[in-house]
């Protein structure tokens, strides 16, 4: 048995899906697009369930709607569970009326029954069930109420079969049945209504006779057929709502009160800036300051560690030295020890030390999202973004992108306008993602110590400026004729759901660890190899051969001229190859620096080693800017290719990004060069 889970955005669909399936989930993509497709098996059963994207309608105008429609029509689920937000019954039922026109059974999960009372709304479920002629289960996805009952009903199949009630005026119903009788497609009633609406996908089925009948209706009701159908649906819904639910006006709601503050004319934006500052102060400043050195010590060993810039005694042998000792004891050769310690452990350790602050960042973002504040951000910044040819909705990809560019680029799908969407996909990688945080944390932490968080913040603002200016450039030269609009629901504020937040944070963290554990370790090994052997494959032992003789140095030297000005007039193959490795994964830049510095053999920290000792505040900032804004990692490039639709457009985008990054970094580096 296969079930589709359908519902509006913010209806609690994802929470219900997680409750239903537990950890038994498979995340993939819908064919041809980058929208996430989640499948799972309902706990304690063998019933498959597919989570369809959040939609308000089955019109073919957004990709989400198209996917949902296609799934319902072509993959033929045995049952649709339609989740409805009980506090906005009227709008939610609009989708329900369309689902009920399909030849598939539909049951309704009436969500948020726990907050109904507070909002002054009552819903008579028996009445609603009778009027819609379908089974309704009252649930709270968040508090896991009623979900067992829902599963039970699905398992037993004890739900009402879809009977296709007549919901339109008689004249319209007559036309619907006459069309339905004469077409040979699946879901006849649904198709007939879409034909009347002159739906894009059903236009070939329109005959002259149908056109006549429809224009007669249009004349009679004095509106076009599309308006007519929507109007009739809503009339039907309003009748049901008036019969089956009551609403006491509670005056100003909590959401209204909070919006008085958060959407305040003068305080709204400063509060936003403050919230973002707190988010990054907590993650990068506070937690970063506390843990980076600590985690690094676990891997490398230490006598003392630095906590908030203060030397604190903390003697630990560290994983690397312990393993080295162990390997030496069993008589491993120097190069094998070096492979494990300088290649694998050093690479993994460099990335892991930034994990605690990433967790805090993911946590903050999940909180902003689930409380409803994220929607407000896109609401009040739309005015600014509109000026640069973007929509407020682009902000969500950007903010998600501060976690990881890949889901960020994928989130650009919520931007309806095609040109705005493509621009958003190109600009999202400019946002410092979590993998770039290690780079910032490393350089800012070393060169700007207690002001590291301020430098971090400055880079975020720098990123915003780069995004806006790039948007203007793209708008002026590439995406010239875009028509844009902004239509979006403003959800109520919710208390965050602990389960959702925990799940979101652990998913993101786990995928980061997996990346660090696979790609990055592999690359670290590759870098170690290239840095440990000469062109004639002699192992660099630090006596006869030195790291300057390595293959890696040769490759770096071929490109080092590009980085010469931004590094304040320093010829550095090490920095060059590290930056290029950002293509594989941005956090790789850090582990590459670490591996190269380690192999040099002085045993000093990265910026005290001979090879990277040249970095100054200026060149550090320039190097960060280059790594932040140049071509993103391969995973993000892949996501961009999908959104842009062609390899050519993808290459153009990469060239554009890297060009901007190089120019800015070079300017900063040159200023430093001249001044110092």
């Amino acid at each position: 048995m296969k079930i589709a889970l359908v519902g509006n955005q913010n209806s609690g669909k994802t929470t219900l899906f997680n409750t239903l399936t537990g950890t038994n989930q498979k995340v993939g993509n819908w064919p041809g697009v980058t929208i996430e497709r989640k499948e799972g098996v309902i706990v304690g059963t063998e019933i498959e369930i597919v989570d369809l994207p959040g939609v308000y309608s089955l019109s073919p105008y957004s990709t989400e709607e198209e996917i949902s429609r296609q799934f319902a029509m072509e993959e033929k689920p045995d049952l649709i569970i339609n989740i409805i937000d009980a506090t906005s019954l009227e709008r939610s039922l609009y989708l329900t009326t369309q689902l009920l026109e399909l030849d598939t059974d539909v049951i309704i999960a009436l969500n948020m029954s726990d907050v109904l009372e507070k909002s002054g709304i009552t819903v008579n479920i028996d009445c609603l069930s009778k009027r819609l002629n379908t089974t309704i289960v009252s649930i709270s996805a968040k508090k896991n109420i009623g979900v067992d009952e829902l599963i039970e009903i699905v398992k037993k199949g004890s739900y009402k079969k879809n009977k296709h009630d007549f919901i339109y005026d008689e004249e319209i119903e007559n036309v619907i049945s006459s069309i339905a009788a004469n077409i040979n497609v699946a879901h006849k009633r649904f198709a007939a209504v879409k034909i009347i609406e002159k739906d894009r996908d059903y236009r070939p089925l329109i005959t002259e006779e149908i056109t006549e009948k429809v224009s007669a209706l249009e004349k009679m009701y004095e509106m076009d057929s599309e308006q007519l159908i929507a109007d009739q649906r809503y009339r039907h819904i309003v009748r049901i709502k008036e019969e089956c639910s009551t609403q006491v006006d509670k005056g100003e709601t909590i959401t209204d009160k909070l919006d008085r503050i958060f959407l305040h004319k003068y305080f709204g934006l400063p509060i936003f800036a403050l919230i973002m500052a707190v988010v990054y102060f907590l993650s990068v400043g506070l937690i970063g300051g506390l843990t980076v050195d600590f985690v690094a010590a676990l891997f490398d060993g230490a006598e003392t560690i630095e906590i908030f810039g203060r030397e604190t005694p903390f003697a630990i042998a560290g994983l690397g030295p312990l393993v080295a000792q162990g390997l030496e004891n069993i008589g491993a050769s120097p190069w094998a020890i070096s492979l494990v310690v300088d290649g694998i452990i050093a690479g993994f350790g460099a990335v892991s030390s930034f994990l605690p602050q990433l967790v805090i960042l993911f946590l903050c973002l999940a909180l902003l999202e689930t409380t409803g504040y994220m929607s407000r951000i896109s609401f009040f910044l739309d005015r600014i973004f509109k000026k640069f040819g973007l929509s407020g909705k682009s902000l969500i990809p950007f903010i998600v992108g501060s976690g990881c560019s890949v889901p960020g680029i994928m989130a650009s799908r919520t931007v309806e306008n095609e040109e705005e969407r493509k621009m958003t996909a190109i600009l999202t990688p400019f946002v410092p993602c979590s993998a770039k945080l290690p780079i910032i944390a490393l350089f800012a932490g070393y060169f700007f110590s207690q002001f590291a968080w301020l430098i971090t913040l400055s880079l975020y603002f720098f990123a915003i400026i780069v995004i806006l200016v790039s948007a203007m450039i793209l708008k002026k030269f590439v995406y010239k004729n875009s028509f844009s609009s902004y239509l979006s629901e403003l959800p109520n504020y919710h208390a965050p759901s602990a389960v959702y937040v925990f799940r979101d944070v652990s998913d993101k963290t786990w995928s980061f660890i997996k990346r660090a554990g696979t790609i990055i370790v592999l690359c670290s090994i590759a870098v170690w190899f290239l840095a440990s052997f000469t062109w004639t494959f002699n192992y660099i032992d630090g006596e006869i051969y030195h790291i300057e003789n390595s293959i890696l140095a040769g490759i770096g030297n071929a490109f080092a001229w590009l980085f010469y000005p931004m590094l304040g007039g320093t010829w550095s193959w090490g920095a060059t190859v590290s930056a290029v490795q950002g293509l594989i994964a941005k956090e790789q830049v850090v582990s590459s620096l670490e591996v190269i510095a380690g192999l040099e053999g002085s045993g000093e920290a990265i910026f005290e080693s001979g090879i990277f000792g040249f970095f100054t505040g200026w060149s550090a900032y320039a190097f960060m800017v280059f790594n932040l804004f140049s071509a993103p990692c391969f995973a993000a490039i892949g996501a961009m290719r999908k959104e842009l639709g062609s390899t050519k457009a993808m290459f153009k985008a990469i060239f554009f990004q890297t060009g901007i990054a190089w120019t800015l970094a070079t300017i900063i580096g040159m200023i430093g060069w001249m001044v110092v």
Binding site: E226, Q247, S485
Partner: protein
């Protein structure tokens, strides 16, 4: 620039109950009935319909973004954000 001038003009005359105009002419807290809308963008039109903006629906201006645009309107028991520009294509009659 033009937008700013229009906004200033708008502030001068508050639409009285019973009078007709565009949705964008209303002040915060005002309620109106939607009479019709004219829009040549098929996707936007469809979306407005799907979100419940049909003839006869009552809308209320609830919240205005700190920078003056977009606007948050209440209809059919929920809140919808919409740009001033798109509100200009919606004809209304003021009721409150």
């Amino acid at each position: 620039m033009r937008e700013r001038r229009r906004n200033r003009q708008r502030k001068g005359i508050r639409l009285q109950p019973g009078s007709e105009g565009h949705l964008s002419d209303l002040d915060r807290g005002q309620k109106a009935i939607v009479l019709d809308f004219h829009n040549d963008n098929a996707a936007l039109r469809r979306r407005l319909l799907d979100m419940g903006i049909t003839k006869g629906v009552v809308v209320e201006i609830k919240k205005i973004a700190p920078l003056g645009d977009p606007i948050d309107i209440r209809l059919r028991g929920y809140e919808l954000c919409i740009r001033r520009k798109d509100m200009q294509s919606i004809d209304i009659k003021v009721i409150e």
